[in-house]
């Protein structure tokens, strides 16, 4: 494990310091550096807040800005932010229209965001709604436990809800819209190489020279299967086939196709995967009307890729297209 860092304990905060220094035109630290928020808030707008462990950069801080998030809370690597951090973000960004929390479906995240919401709502101080993102189809729906994880589709939910909030949608509408965006979104990933968590120096998993982890999570959680490494077309057919099966049918539907790098895979390979995935869906009668290719939702420097599909209607398309000015998404 070789990383550009000074110490494992300081890694997450050192990254944040650099992030805020690089993007001071868009963001600033909240009080006591508990969260990162927009430099300029929009009065009367519902605040949209997300957060999670460090190690998934640019998610979520890279999505703070006009048209997307108002604030992001970052914990230690792969560790939920504390309720105190989340509460500070709510306090500093709520301008009276309420707050939408967008939370990836992990026990720690869900628990800490719930606690923060309860504290914030106490005495009627804030109105809060929460959208739980659970787009990872690698986890079977029938599985015991907390169900499906939130992975790369979180970006899409944050963009759609963020754009609607920017356009003035009220809190109750944003809750319905966010839940609908989650329901329209499915993701599956594959890893070619695991990663090492800095604090523990423990590898999340070790793959043989001809193995890949199919259905990997963004903390290196095991997937559906450990499979023999194969060519890109076969990998794409496998992932996209699973996504298509999970939707049931997408025949004639318009989709946003999002190919995401897990941190250590170069953009060239992501474009290659995108080209194959687009061809796959078109061969199956699905129309790719919007696309995104890049390294947005990561697992430190894990080598791998995830493919996300969101079924688009006119409203989702317009919200996806709406202007966004963040460190990592801009149009």
């Amino acid at each position: 494990m070789k990383k550009f860092m000074n110490s494992a304990g300081a890694l997450a905060q050192d990254c944040l310091e650099g992030f805020v220094a690089a993007h001071g035109d868009i963001v600033l630290f909240g009080d006591a550096k508990k969260h990162v928020r927009r430099r300029v808030l929009t009065p009367g707008k519902v605040a949209v807040i997300s957060g999670g462990g460090a190690g998934h950069e640019p998610m979520h801080t890279g999505f703070v800005g006009h048209g997307m998030l108002d604030a992001a809370c970052t914990g230690y690597v792969f560790t939920s932010p504390t309720p105190d951090q989340i509460l500070s973000a709510i306090h500093e960004t709520d301008s009276g229209a309420g707050t939408l929390l967008i939370v990836k479906n992990y026990d720690g995240d869900v628990m800490n965001f719930e606690m923060a919401a309860e504290m914030a709502m106490a005495g009627g101080a804030h109105r809060i709604e929460t959208v739980i993102v659970n787009d990872d189809i690698a986890v079977e729906r029938s599985a015991r436990g907390t169900g499906r994880r939130g992975v790369a589709g979180t970006l899409i939910v944050e963009k759609i809800a963020g754009a609607a909030a920017q356009a003035g949608a009220p809190l109750n509408e944003l809750k319905i819209l966010g839940d609908a965006a989650v329901a329209a979104t499915r993701t599956m990933g594959v890893a070619l190489r695991g990663t090492t968590v800095p604090q523990t120096t423990r590898e999340t998993f070790v793959l043989g020279p001809n193995e890949m982890e199919v259905g990997v999570g963004i903390h290196g959680e095991p997937g559906r299967s450990r499979a023999e490494m194969t060519d890109a077309s076969a990998i794409v057919d496998l992932i996209c086939g699973n996504i298509l099966d999970d939707f049931g049918s997408l025949d004639g539907q318009s989709i946003l196709l999002f190919v995401n790098g897990l941190g250590g895979t170069p953009l060239s390979e992501l474009y290659l995967v995108f080209g194959l995935a687009r061809t796959f869906f078109e061969r199956h009668g699905v129309i790719v009307t919007r696309s995104l290719v890049g390294t947005y939702v990561t697992s430190l420097d894990m080598a791998g890729v995830s493919i996300t599909v969101t079924v688009l209607d006119d409203r989702f398309t317009a919200l996806w297209d709406a202007p966004v000015q963040t460190a990592s998404l801009r149009w």
Copy 2:
């Protein structure tokens, strides 16, 4: 070596196919897919063209669009595009105002762009000027051979020249401006892990668990020294100290500070390096007025980072700030 690909021979073209499929609103293939060019050309504008081997994505195709390049030519991995490719880009994008070629300083690239320029100028068909980028200070100026290599600073030269061309600057001015941008720009990189060239399955270099390659090039060329791995602050001090020494003095100057990932290093570590580098320069009386952090000029999936400094005057600053609409740079 595990990569998302179907075959080593098809890798570069498969990536391009995916790139054009993902960014069809901005780019299209030139005739016979010899190059990638803007979907909408600006009549009467000097055409700005660059290119080089594949494996450095998003450079150069990711910089094609309004305010930057008109076309990019991509060869096989780490292999110059052919004169025929470059000539096709000149033919299809020259609207009569002439063409500026921006070329990284490698023997193959320089030779093939020169040949293309000679062929294009034959009979007065096209007016051509060429800017050679040689920002890599890891190569001593006194070294025999072709001198300093062109690395991440190429992005800055392309942005500055591209913005000036978009604003209507004539060819002779663009040549002077491009050369001045090169002279104002210095880069140095360090690698923590080499990469494998797909065609040869040869590793560019192999580092021990506690080694780093200081001054690495973007094809895995050896650097100034193989050093013992150390913490991020020491690495940043080493690189930035070398850059500062090479400039002589930057006291009181304004700079653009660009921290670039070499392909396999996550954004979190790049931000950490940026924060330290910014502090370094401020401690040395240098004012960081513009910044860029991301994975833009790569060496396949090499783990590593480069730091680039461009000394800014008012004109460079305005050209850097000018609107740009490409796949990989947008503001």
